[in-house]
Amino acid sequence: MSATVHIADVVKHYGKVEAVKGASFDLAEGEMVALIGHNGAGKTTLMKMMLGLIRPSRGTIAVLGENPAAGEFSARRRLGYLPENVAFDAALTGRETQAFYSRLKREPVKDALALLDVVGLGHAVKRRVDTYSKGMRQRLGLAQALIGRPRVLLLDEPTTGLDPELRQTFYDVIQKLAAEGTTVLLSSHALTELEERAGRVIIMNRGLKVADGTLDELRRIARLPTRIRIKVADLPPSGSPAWLPTATPYRRINGHIVEIDAAPDEKLDLLRRATADGSAVQDLELIPPSLDELYAHFLRQAERPQ
């Protein structure tokens, strides 16, 4: 797979503020990458640099083989962007706005207008954009980003303001695009939403990339405990179950569920013991560390003094 976005040792200062202190990564075709990080971590700054809206103080960026900082822009025909606070010219209607953007990308206006139906704006296309609700504006923002089957999609907090139904549609649409080879980079604070969908996660902390990998890879690196819930039939009212090694911390839930945070290397051992003959395990649930927990872990680790 060839890289559509290449970022090497990129640094961006705003006067004294170091918005991005160091980030290097490549994004490949067909990848769906979540860019997460606290407020002010540098996510938006990174995306703006990929678009050439701002120039990196150091480092190199290539998007679809072009250097955006040098003012090269023909690759932007194959690039879709949704800014975090998307704004449109108030006096135009939704349809006129979409037609305008499709002309700039030299794409057929008809196809672009069909996208308005995809994002569920079909009924409001003839209304002026300044009469739109926040979510409707966000939908229009998505529609324009999808014009011309982009090969790279940069979406800055795309789901804020979207209702649950359209959120689902949105993820369906971009997953389909990713399956067809589009690189999707999306920043978000809705980690639970991303967990099921993002193939890869990049975590930023104070302008530094602190983690990068698939969810499984991150779990392996983080070595966070897996939560094991075991439902036991005859749990003694007090005292720990016999199969539980002594001094293992555990919690009781509802009187008959035992919950244990198991480190990766003791997980299997614990499961073997619990299901061994003699114990009355009725049900068993394994909850791997969530993206929320992984995120918190990597931030803690980044903040720890070396």
């Binding site: 678009l51 809206l53 932007r76 606070n85 704004a87």
Partner: protein, 276 residues
């Protein structure tokens, strides 16, 4: 090329929606018509042709009004779009920044040209209806007046863009533009007049005076219209000045064109360096 036209067309569409076109046209037509009718009353007795009177009074009106309208539409073309957030999205499209600026320029100029032609054209039509005769020279002078008015508009649109490309917020852009308008349209002439009176013709030669006049687009426009045509210049009382200044029509037009191109180029440069 395509992007230029797309952007210009959107700018025109917006100006129509926002009633900019309507307001500017009505304003110019209203004032032009009232000047025509007010001006046509005494002309019979003085002996000047009604058309020349109208040209003189309309060009004096233009000097105040067109720069003001031009600055009003242009001062927030860049900084305003940045503040509203629409520029961010636009620049993520396959367009160069110079195309954005030039596209806007063409759109705004079209709006201004439309309003001027229609507004001042109404005055010409009114003259014809009231029975004034138009000879070829008079017609040429009138057409030149409209054309140069549009050119003056272009100058101030370009100046407005330069301001818009440089400042941080819309308020500053508006303030700076008002200041520039006062400076170029009112204060400069008064200062120049004061200077001439004080100097009594000792140090300031015709050449220096010409240069000083070319340094202000409003003066270049005024000279072009008041001295460019013999009839008009006799009537406007500028004949003396026209004789003492060595400026040809070509020089005046060149000055106006340069006053458009240089600020436009500077605005493009400032805009392409800007981060947003």
């Amino acid at each position: 090329m395509n992007a230029l036209i797309t952007i210009a067309a959107k700018e025109i569409q917006q100006a129509i929606r926002n009633r900019w076109v309507l307001a500017a046209t009505l304003l110019l037509a209203g004032l032009a018509l009232s000047l025509t009718f007010l001006g046509s009353a005494p002309t019979g007795t003085v002996g000047a042709r009604a058309l020349d009177v109208v040209i003189v009074s309309l060009s004096s009106l233009t000097i105040f009004l067109i720069p003001l309208i031009a600055l009003l539409i242009s001062h927030d073309a860049i900084v305003g779009d940045m503040e509203r957030g629409t520029m961010l999205l636009l620049l993520s499209y396959p367009v160069a920044r110079w195309q954005v600026l030039l596209g806007k320029f063409l759109g705004h100029l079209a709006v201004l040209a439309f309003a001027t032609c229609l507004g001042y054209g109404a005055a010409a039509v009114a003259l014809l209806i009231t029975g004034s005769s138009f000879d070829g020279e008079g017609f040429a002078a009138f057409a030149a007046m409209i054309g140069s008015s549009v050119l003056l508009g272009a100058v101030f649109v370009a100046i407005g863009y330069l301001v818009s490309a440089v400042v941080r917020d819309r308020g500053t852009a508006a303030g700076l533009c008002i200041g520039l308008w006062l400076m170029l349209v009112l204060i400069y002439d008064m200062a120049l007049l004061g200077l001439l009176v004080l100097d009594q013709g000792r140090n300031i030669s015709g050449g220096v005076l010409s240069a000083l006049l070319l340094l202000n687009p409003a003066d270049a426009y005024r000279l072009f219209n008041l001295t460019g045509f013999a009839n008009v210049s006799l009537f406007s009382g500028m004949a003396g000045l026209a004789a003492s200044s060595t400026l040809s029509v070509q020089a005046l037009l060149t000055a106006l064109v340069l006053w458009t191109l240089v600020p436009l180029a500077c605005a493009t440069l400032a805009f392409s360096r800007r981060e947003l």
